[in-house]
Symmetry: C2
């Protein structure tokens, strides 16, 4: 089978490609070819199929999507997007890449599938990386699958609109779509960044490396987490589930661990002791606090659970994944 | 004030224009100019402001939206759309008119508002005619404002996507949007049409005129209704409410009357007696029955109620409106 990955140069994209190369198969079929697309260069892991190519391109540019689809990939992992802050600061760019870019892929697939005279028309599995930012306050105690998408950012709006298209193109039989609403990924490897959510990883990652980390919010702040390894697992599951039982709701909230900052800290204590916890420095930041209070802390990911998507069971497991995958323990 | 109405040639559009001409004011301000746009000709009611013009154009064509916005209408009623069946049969056309056409209007407004050097930038009230077809089964007993939009038609998808854009453009301050999700309008004047919902009006309208009408479904079928007069009232209310209390949820389910076909028939008996009811001919139609079973029968239109939107209280009132407005009684 042929696989196309967009956003293959990003953190999750790279891990997904590594997993596919390691597995050698997807849903029981041998992976024969991979196309890795990003605006930055994508690394090709050792052991990748011979027919693996890297394309540095912006699929929201006219004609690029059609070129990518011409090969008729059986499975498309669409992870490419500009991030929330960028989409908020650059209104037109956000819609162009996150929405029109995704639509261009859907349209290229539809047009490829409508080529005449074929008895077995093209209809790939399309896995779309969505976000819990499709939701907006006021929130119930726990957010059900049936909760309205009322995003409070342009990024969330673009993802919610793409989810709607994904469902309609699936309903019409042009593609077979599954939308994966990712929890906050924790522990992100690498350096702190300017995202308001950066500290959720930082207060664990830095102390685990013997370094200090600032904590801008209170212990009571609750959030929804999964590891990078779990995120890759979500995409693999989305590529292989039987979608006939999904019905019209093609995008699902992914399972995760609901944890407060206090619970994160206790998990760190369990994994690395009091000395690690002492490296967390409380530096209240009202700006970050306010943003984070607009996020939900608990979801009832019922449909995804039924479909076989699985995340970690507690925060201790999330730390263990980081120690295994990033610290070689 | 200046008003722009798209879809002004349609049944509700014409009634809205008539109401505006009769009122002479909107939200306490004198209506000085009206622009009526449709792909068909729009009638100008007697007594319309001198500065009223009719434009026959398709605003989804390049450049048309910008032309309409150049006049800087204070209030825009955006009713133009192709109907559900047409959007389902003509995939590209549906997206072009119902979605891209609406987006072109939003973009024209944003670009007009971003013209430099103005201390009071352009930011009109934008009233968008949406639909309960943004929802899809499985339904709860009563559908709350917080229910997910999972449409099962391209038409519903296009409207739900436009609702998302409306909210984001409002949040960013480019316009001041209110989305109005209309109940099934009943009693529609005129002839039966090919819509699956046509019989909901037909079983009342035809007997009130002494004619037979087919009933393709059972008495227990429940649906959500408002009169054409109430629909016009929704648009007027949407144009004049204080949107600061709306928050991020700019599109609302409108209030209506939840009634079964059996209750419709009893209301007809109350208004026109047994002889009228005897004109309803039961002709089971499994095709229509199946479509109608995918529709919801009850909504909890809480937010709209709080904001002052009002419909009829029972089906008797809906029949009375038809007798007054269409039969001159």
């Amino acid at each position: 089978m042929k696989i196309l990955v967009t956003g293959s140069g990003g953190m999750i994209g790279r891990k997904l490609v590594e997993r596919l190369v390691k597995d050698k198969t997807l849903g029981g079929k041998t992976i024969e070819a991979m196309t890795l697309v990003d605006v930055v260069d994508s690394p090709i892991p050792a052991g990748a199929p011979k027919d693996t190519k890297v394309i540095v391109a912006d699929f929201s540019e006219k004609g690029v999507a059609a070129t990518l689809i011409l090969d008729r990939p059986d499975v498309i992992f669409h992870l490419a997007a500009i991030v929330s802050g960028d989409a908020e600061a650059n209104f037109e760019k956000g819609y162009k890449i996150n929405f029109n870019g995704s639509w261009a892929l859907f349209e290229a697939i539809r047009q490829e599938g409508e080529k005449q005279g074929e008895k077995d028309p093209y209809k790939p599995r399309f896995v779309f990386a969505s976000t819990l930012a499709v939701f907006g306050p006021p929130f119930p105690e726990s957010i059900p699958d049936s909760f309205a998408t009322t995003p409070t950012s342009s990024y969330g709006t673009q993802k919610a609109m793409t989810e709607l298209l994904l469902a309609d193109y699936s309903r019409k039989g042009f593609l077979d779509g599954v939308g994966v609403r990712l929890p906050t990924i924790c522990i992100r490897p690498g350096k702190p960044n300017k995202a308001a959510s950066s500290f959720f990883s930082g207060i664990l990652r830095e102390p685990l490396a013997g370094q200090e980390a600032p904590l801008p919010v209170g212990d009571e702040v609750r959030h929804w987490f999964a590891s990078p390894r779990a995120a890759v697992g979500f995409f693999i599951t989305a590529a292989t589930i039987d979608t006939t039982s999904l019905g019209p709701r093609r995008s699902m909230t992914m399972p995760g661990v609901s944890a407060t900052v206090g619970e994160q800290i206790e998990a760190l204590r369990g994994a690395a002791g009091d000395a690690a916890v002492a490296l967390i420095k409380r530096v209240d930041d009202p700006f970050v606090s306010k943003i984070v209070q607009g996020w939900a802390g608990r979801y009832d990911a019922q449909l995804a659970g039924q479909m076989g998507f699985a995340a970690e069971k507690n925060f201790g497991e999330i730390i263990k994944v980081y120690q295994e995958d990033e610290m070689g323990q």
